[in-house]
Amino acid sequence: MKSLSTLLAGILFGVGLAMSGMTNTAKVQGFLDLFGNWIPDLAFVMGGAVLVTVISFRFILRREQPLFDLKFFVPSNRVIDQKLLTGAALFGLGWGLYGYCPGPAVAALTYLNWQTALFVMAMIAGMALQRRKG
């Protein structure tokens, strides 16, 4: 059941990304173009998603354990440090440069474009590089 729910969650995520327009780099860059020809649509994606999680997570995290595992694997770190902010700032820079964050980039592999494959390979290389350096 754990595997099946994971697959289902993945499918819902993929449908959601494609439906929302997040797999369209031009649209994402248009959303980030707040001081130009702003396309506000994608604010509704984050808005809609957080609207659901902010309600559902309250109830779920009150449980002793999830349905199909023994405990919750939720980060307990609450410290806002330099590493978090530098990482987030860099991520935003790359996101703005190209128009993909990790989820949509991976989902867009479905479209079989070499550009997206190149982006995802570079992204994974970046993750490996950062983890090696610590």
């Binding site: 969650a9 995520f13 001081f35 809609g48 999680t53 987030a88 860099l90 993909y100 992204m123």
Partner: protein, 141 residues
């Protein structure tokens, strides 16, 4: 065509539902950068992240197949910018322990101050980057 905000909102609700199913069933956070990393590295358990990624690919294909909406065209950014941006995103999400899904959708959902700080930061630098790219440098991409 539907109202311009209907499909983004419906897509967002589905993403929230996905994160809800994943947390309720497995106790895990649907943060895609972490899931992708765990899916390709042998460290830790690989089965769930691999299944999640397969689901994402299936779901994306399924949406276009059923809706008849054409797949969006890939970015026309030059190859070097594609690699550069990918590298920066990879380093950034790894250093910052998450991306739009982990910090944005899930972190804000559980009212994490760390995730709020991260989300505000990457939104700000994303907006700043597009501003510089389009309105100062005049669009190299």
């Amino acid at each position: 065509m539907l109202e311009p905000y209907t499909t983004p909102l419906a897509g967002g609700l589905l993403i929230g539902l996905s994160a809800t199913v994943f947390l309720l069933a497995t106790g895990r956070i649907a943060g895609i950068s972490g899931i992708v990393w765990n899916a390709i590295t042998a460290a830790g358990e690989r089965q769930l992240p691999v299944l999640f990624v397969i689901g994402m690919l299936l779901g994306t294909g399924l949406y276009h197949y059923i809706s008849g909406m054409p797949a969006p065209a890939p970015s026309d950014a030059p190859w070097w910018l594609t690699i550069l941006a990918g590298l920066i995103v990879g380093v950034g999400v790894s250093m910052g322990s998450g991306c739009t899904s982990g910090h944005g959708v899930c972190g804000l959902g559980r009212l994490s101050p760390r995730s709020l700080a991260a989300t505000l930061t990457f939104m700000a630098t994303g907006i700043l980057t597009v501003f510089l790219l389009r309105h100062v440098l005049g669009g190299i991409a």
